[in-house]
């Protein structure tokens, strides 16, 4: 550890002691509205959001001039480490919706100076939530066949069409939308990327109820919705380049296994012994289950080691790499296998929907198992990631993506 980083660690420690509300310690994302978000959050939570945001430390490596922390990768690691020590989380990536993980990095790369100054500070503060209008009812994995149209009416873009699977559209203030700006050329060559406000008469959102019971996604309708001329991100008709980059950021943000709540983070083997029983020598009684839990634990460890190896090889370079597709598919397996195994471990207690007959963990597991089925669909499905690996890493000829 260098002296400068050591010095920085002390500064962080002091700052956290003075600014982090103790009432939030160890409570994770729950005070911030959980994964689905809430319109209002409690006072201690908003205080922490504001203090972290003012410091720029919710987006620690972004340039300070746009509201980021201006920290080096090493300093950001120290910050994250120290926050972990006191049980603090950084709520800003959650509160900004798709702002921190995807929209912001893409604006930093493709945005004009004006766009950076207009949009990034809001993301850094955690007060402006972003959603992404990408998929459409007839454009899922084949995203480039999207139909939502934007026309230049002289002083504004006018947008008409429908998006689907827009995460958090009903609670977001801004949207990054992929729109067709030229229908006369090959489908990937007539797409642009627009930034538009959600609070306007031409935008309507309808939450979609999913199999897990919650509604994290919306259908979003644009009826003569408007965007400023200056809010076109990247070049006109070059939105496909922008979105490819954006999706790389998305994959990179999905390479870890999904965070689990503190309680269900209890080792699966301990839960298995509690629910299924063990032998006098301490081994799990169900040998078939034992074998499959070992497979899962080994894969989980291998996944963690691979993340560590790939970041060491990149020498802390946060640049998104082609390896993200491997890690996304591997992370999917970690999460989905765990949920399936837990469901099996809990047996009859694992099938509850609500009510006192089931513990909170049991109910949470059912919902998590169901919602987790989406992991291999969103952000480029398991099959799309395999296409990317085959083409971009292995150099095999393109198969399915035509046009």
């Amino acid at each position: 550890m260098s002296e400068a980083l050591d010095q920085f660690r002390h500064e962080v420690r002091d700052w956290l002691a003075q600014n982090f509300p103790k009432s939030l310690a160890g409570r994770g994302i729950e005070p911030f509205g959980g994964v689905e978000g809430e319109a209002t959050i409690p006072e201690d939570a908003s205080l922490w959001r504001d203090r972290l945001g003012d410091k720029g430390w919710g987006t620690p490596t972004w340039p300070a001039v746009y509201g980021g922390g201006g920290l080096s990768v090493g300093e950001a690691a120290v910050l994250s480490d120290e926050m972990h020590q006191v049980g603090a989380i950084n709520p800003i990536p959650l509160l900004a919706g798709m702002g921190v993980t995807m929209v912001g990095p893409t604006i930093l790369e493709y945005g004009t100076e004006e766009q950076k100054k207009k949009h990034l500070p809001g993301i850094c503060s955690g007060k402006v939530r972003w959603c992404l209008g990408l998929s459409e009812p007839n454009a899922g994995s084949d995203l480039a066949s999207l139909q939502t149209k934007a026309e230049d009416n002289g002083d504004r873009w006018v947008i008409n069409g429908q998006k689907i699977w827009t995460s958090g559209a009903n609670i977001s203030q801004w949207c990054g939308a992929l729109v067709r700006t030229d229908s006369s050329v090959a489908k990937r060559d007539g797409i642009s990327f627009l930034l538009l406000p959600m609070d306007q008469p031409g935008v309507e959102t309808r939450p979609i109820k999913l199999i897990a019971g919650a509604s994290p996604f919306c259908e979003t309708f644009f009826n003569d919705a408007e965007a400023e001329k200056t809010d076109l991100l990247g070049k006109h008709n070059d939105g496909w380049s922008v979105v490819k980059r954006l999706l790389q950021h998305e994959r990179a943000s999905q390479t870890g296994a999904r965070p689990t709540s503190n309680k269900s983070a209890q080792p699966i083997q301990a839960l298995a012994k509690a629910y299924c029983g063990s032998e006098p020598d301490g081994t799990l009684s169900d040998k078939d289950l034992r074998s499959r839990i070992v497979d899962h634990l080994m894969h989980t460890k291998a996944h963690g080691l691979t993340i560590a190896r790939i970041s060491a090889e990149a020498k802390g370079n946060p640049e998104v790499s082609a390896a993200a597709s491997i890690l996304k598919n591997s992370a999917t397996r970690v999460s989905q296998d765990r949920a399936e195994l837990l469901l099996e471990v809990m047996g009859h207690q694992g099938i509850g929907w609500y009510g006192d007959a089931f513990s909170e963990d049991e109910l949470e597991n059912v919902r998590g198992w169901l919602s987790g089925k989406a992991i291999s669909i969103y952000g480029g499905s398991f099959e799309i990631q395999n296409n990317i690996i085959a083409k971009n890493i292995l150099g095999l000829p393109e198969t399915t993506q035509k046009g």
Binding site: T283, A308, N386, A390, T399
Partner: protein
């Protein structure tokens, strides 16, 4: 690949070019076809000695270069790629580790320099049954007037016919079923009462069965502490497993490269077969598994170098993952090549045969899964 030092990079590059130029798989084929009695060409061994590979693990004080397990692994990976046959793994890694871990000063001084200069081949004589099971060791070492008398049998001893010395795992106390009561003995291969018979195996490499009929050994041939070889043995076996996992990864990586090359060149229905999504996705899945396996194997080798507390669990993970991946990859090598893969003229069969032999050596997938579960408390 892990981040390498300048020295490690040089050694790796040397291994890559030597294997490519001097020991491609055609050399292995020539060795097999010649029926080389020891299961390797003596010239190959001499070349390895001259490059200093036999002394890579041996400390400088004993005539080696003391470079560690990850560095040794870099060479083993390349040897695994082209199935280069030699006693390097058995002697310069496993045999040397046994002496380094359990040997006293006199034993190390007398034998380590000979391992490093290639004049001695020291092999571990452990297995007695159909599968890896150190606790089941029954070969008996009884007290005699000035040492011990060894009686029993050993099977599947690597480089058993080429070895000049054996590190013999023997029971000096207790009954078969426990690591307690085991001792290690350093035995000359030509000692009275020891007979060895060559095994002909599908991977064409050198193995032997050993028969000990009242073999007399002196007190000073005891390697390490009497009755308490368990700890040292566990280390030696982990060195072997991690090294073997790296060799297996090399074998699998080459099988993958051959397959990928075929996917890009073989045409059917007017297009290269790699353009079919079924095959593209299979290749993506294999590649993903290969990357995960590499992380485990490198971590296991690094845990040996760091003498980390996680060693046992990382080694179990590495050997299980490498075995499972090589198993699948060697099957896919044949399947994707189709009919040509079934011919002896093509090399795929060599990889398939070698895969299964290494899979069961030092513990198969089931063995290491059981170990991993036990280490994780279930």
């Amino acid at each position: 690949m892990a981040l390498l030092s300048e020295e490690q990079t040089l050694i790796k590059d040397q291994a890559v070019s030597w294997v490519r130029d001097e020991s491609p798989v055609t050399q292995f084929r020539a060795m097999r076809d010649s029926g080389a009695p020891l299961g390797f060409f003596p010239d190959t061994w001499t070349a390895m000695v001259n490059m200093g590979w036999t002394g890579m693990l041996v400390p400088e004080a004993y005539g080696g270069s003391g470079l560690g397990h990850l560095t040794f692994g870099l060479v083993l990976e390349q040897l695994g790629r082209h199935l280069t046959a030699s006693p390097l793994f058995a002697s310069a890694l496993v045999g040397a580790s046994a002496l380094m871990k359990a040997g006293n000063e006199a034993q190390k001084t007398s034998l380590l320099p000979k391992i490093a200069d290639g004049s001695a081949v020291v092999s571990l004589a452990l297995e007695e049954g159909t599968r890896h099971h150190p606790e089941a060791t029954a070969l008996l070492a009884e007290r005699s007037d000035d040492g011990f008398t060894l009686s029993g049998e050993k099977t599947f001893v690597m480089e058993g016919m080429a070895a000049t010395h054996f590190v013999v795992v023997a029971r000096t106390e207790g009954a078969a079923g426990s690591l307690e009561g085991l001792s290690l003995f350093l035995v000359d291969a030509d000692v009275d009462g020891l007979s060895r018979s060559s095994l002909s195996t599908m991977d064409s490499r050198g193995y032997a069965n050993l028969r000990f009929e009242r073999v007399e050994v002196r007190e000073d041939q005891l390697l390490g502490t009497l009755h308490q070889a368990g700890g040292a043995l566990s280390w030696i076996l982990d060195v072997a497993r991690a090294g073997l996992a790296m060799e297996m990864l090399g074998t699998a990586a080459h099988a993958f490269d051959m397959t990928l090359d075929y996917l890009k060149t073989r045409k059917q229905f007017g297009q290269v077969i790699g353009s079919f999504q079924a095959l593209g996705h299979r290749a993506s899945g294999l590649y993903t598994e290969m990357e995960l396996t590499r992380s485990c194997v490198e971590a296991a080798l690094q845990s040996l170098d760091a003498e980390s507390d996680e060693r046992e669990s990382l080694v179990a993970l590495a050997k299980a993952k490498a075995s499972a991946f090589l198993h699948e990859m060697s099957n896919q090598l044949i399947q994707i090549h189709g009919g040509i893969g079934m011919t002896d003229e093509f090399d795929a069969g060599f990889y398939l045969k070698r895969a299964r032999v290494l899979e069961i050596a030092f513990g198969n997938v089931a063995y290491h899964k059981d170990r991993y579960a036990t280490l994780n408390g279930f």
